[in-house]
């Protein structure tokens, strides 16, 4: 088991490295010359060259890559090419905002969706299952901005309960903060929960189709007891897997949601960086997002290994 887990972590690290190369190459291919953008109208050939030399932009890409990777390892994310501020200082506050959003979404959506998924699996074919299946199916088939648009229409425009823009400055009271966070929170919770409910239901029903459950049915064990005593414990692994996968899925949901509600998070910072061609900033943000994603996927895989007795106790 240990060998499998360690192997999985190594593969994860290798993936991270490939990701770093991909992120670097793609951002290096971004059109537009940063020096020209930063210096603007006042640029002379000499000042452009001086700027490039100062920021190491005149070096070959390979050197730039290893220089970047080296400082990334030591936690030095570099200096924003547009503003001149250190990227760490730019990111710190934004990262906190995004983590706050993701954490609240996770805390609310995980227990609710596992319960609802279990409920749907316990009573398959009943109206409760049908409502959940059809509802979640509809929700996972629409884009995040669809749900966000409707939330704005209903909660902000028609009912006027909540602001349509999530403006967080940092000096609000908790109530104000919660009001500001409400729209992005609701949208993300709906998106993530729908996915999780479906996967939980599918995971449990999958176990329900295995021979030992059929045996239990044949010997006359009651249905609720089968699900809670026989099936549930074998679905913990798949469910933990589902949770980790969906938290990873939050990464992409966050991009859209932060843009719609102008939420001052990391994704918004990255999109802004894309527009100003701020390479170090985009690289750093992309690495944080992709790194988080890879780590969560590894966790999902390790959970799956740990939860499977056959993998846990090899012969």
């Amino acid at each position: 088991m240990q060998r499998m887990v360690i192997q999985r972590i190594w593969i994860g690290l290798a993936t991270l490295w490939v990701v770093s190369v991909m992120v670097f190459i793609m951002t290096a291919a971004l059109p537009g010359d940063v020096a020209a953008i930063v210096l603007g109208q006042s640029a002379t050939p000499e000042s452009l060259a001086a700027y490039r030399a100062e920021r190491g932009l005149d070096q070959p890409l390979v050197f730039q890559y290893f220089g970047w990777l080296g400082s990334l390892m030591t936690g030095d994310l570099g200096i924003s090419k547009a503003g001149g501020a250190t990227i760490s200082s730019l990111i710190a506050g934004r990262l906190y905002n995004t983590m706050l959003l993701a954490a609240i979404v996770a805390v609310i959506s995980v227990p609710v969706s596992v319960m609802l998924g279990l409920l749907a699996a316990m009573y398959p074919g009943t109206w409760i299952d049908r409502v959940l299946t059809f509802g979640t199916l509809s929700l996972i088939s629409v884009p995040e901005f669809f749900i966000a648009t409707f939330m704005v229409l209903i909660l902000a425009v028609k009912l006027q309960w909540l602001p349509a823009i999530a403006n967080i400055s940092g000096d609000e009271t908790y109530l104000e903060l919660l009001r500001g966070l409400a729209m992005p929170l609701i949208t993300l919770i709906i998106v993530v929960a729908a996915q999780m409910i479906r996967m939980t239901r599918a995971g449990i029903l999958n176990v329900m189709n295995s021979p030992y459950i059929e045996m239990a049915i044949l010997k006359g064990v009651r249905r609720n007891r089968i699900i809670l005593r026989h099936a549930f414990f074998n679905t913990i692994g798949p469910i933990v897997n589902v949770i980790a996968l969906n938290l990873a899925y939050l990464v992409s949901g966050v991009v859209i949601v932060e843009t719609i509600f102008a939420y001052p998070g990391l994704a918004k910072l990255m999109i802004d960086g894309v527009q100003t061609r701020d390479l170090p900033l985009v690289q750093a943000c992309a690495m944080i997002f992709c790194g988080t994603y890879v780590v969560l996927i590894i966790l999902a895989d390790v959970a799956a290994i740990l939860a499977n007795p056959r993998l846990r106790n090899p012969k």
């Binding site: 990701v19 398959p124 704005v152 189709n209 049915i217 859209i256």
Partner: protein
């Protein structure tokens, strides 16, 4: 007419081959859809027709700025022009017309991208399963790296790096989603390569391509078809999301994702302008999922059904 020629005729009519008459030929199953599945089929059919005839059915051109005002309500009549059944958008254009034109962009482009993703993914995946070795190793590692990135993040980087044009958009979506197709096709190929009937075919001395097309693929049609549907949904969502972020299809071409974004402001004036294109996306993607659900419910999950009765 003798019996023999008659037999030959019916054979030609139904396109039967000796292959279908083998004792182990798969039974022909008829697919019966539930009412939700039928709604799905109807909606998908409607949008496919609109992809083809949309521009001719639409009352106005997608770029026509003809209305009296922006954000007019549904059913407003512009004198001398006609009725705006779904109202007008932020640039005084007819929303219904733009949605019908946009079907070509959103659905059409997504469909081409998915087809391309399938062509690449299935070919590479089955080849990896059949050839194994270094070939498989390299393809799988590249694939893992692509799969381990959030799709929207990857799309964002590619589109920003290479600019946003329709070919780039199709290529990006195709490469990203080819990687998940590759994974499935490879797993499927590996599973089937060890089946007895494949070994039997190899023992008969059949070539590898004969085995793939006559033995492996026919067994994979149903799962691959349902997967194609799901993949198409993902591509539609992916392309609409990029358009929504302003990095997808560029104006003035109408596309559902960017229509939502551009008209988002209208909500504050009580206009439903962003809601209609959002509903168009939802109607298409939900419809596909309804069909896929129906099809996959037919295969498996029997025991759970037994427990209710």
């Amino acid at each position: 007419m003798t019996d023999a020629t008659q037999g030959a005729e019916t054979e030609a009519e139904e396109g039967k081959t000796i292959y279908d008459e083998l004792p182990d030929a798969p039974p022909k199953k008829k697919l019966k859809l539930s009412w939700t599945g039928k709604i799905g089929v109807a909606l998908v059919a409607f949008w496919i027709i609109m992809v083809i005839v949309g521009p001719w059915v639409a009352p106005f051109h997608e770029a026509d700025i003809i209305a009296d005002d922006s954000y007019l309500g549904p059913g407003y009549v512009t004198e001398g022009e006609g009725t705006h059944w779904l109202g007008t958008d932020y640039l005084e254009r007819d929303i219904l017309s733009r949605i019908l034109w946009g079907a070509r962009m959103t659905v059409g482009i997504s469909f081409i991208a998915t087809l391309l993703a399938y062509a690449m993914g299935v070919t590479a995946g089955i080849a990896a399963a059949v050839k194994r070795g270094w070939y498989d190793m390299i393809l799988s590692r590249i694939n893992d790296a692509i799969l381990s990135l959030p799709t929207i993040m990857l799309g964002l980087l590619i589109v920003v790096a290479f600019g946003s044009s329709i070919p780039i958009l199709i290529g990006t979506a195709a490469v990203i989603y080819a990687s998940s197709v590759f994974r499935i096709a490879r797993a499927f190929g590996q599973e089937i390569m060890v089946m007895d009937y494949v070994e039997a075919a190899q023992a008969r001395g059949e070539t590898i391509w004969w085995i793939i097309f006559r033995e492996v693929l026919p067994n994979a049609v149903m799962p691959l078809a349902t997967d194609f549907g799901l993949r198409l949904v993902f591509v539609v969502l992916f392309i609409s999301s990029l358009s929504f972020l302003g990095l997808g299809i560029q104006p003035p071409a109408a596309d559902w994702g960017s229509m939502v974004r551009q008209n988002l402001e209208g909500l504050q004036y009580g206009s439903l302008a962003p809601v209609w294109p959002a509903l168009a996306i939802a109607s298409f993607t939900i419809a596909i999922n309804l069909i896929v659900d129906d099809v996959s419910a037919k295969s498996g999950g029997d025991l759970a059904k037994k427990m209710i009765s």
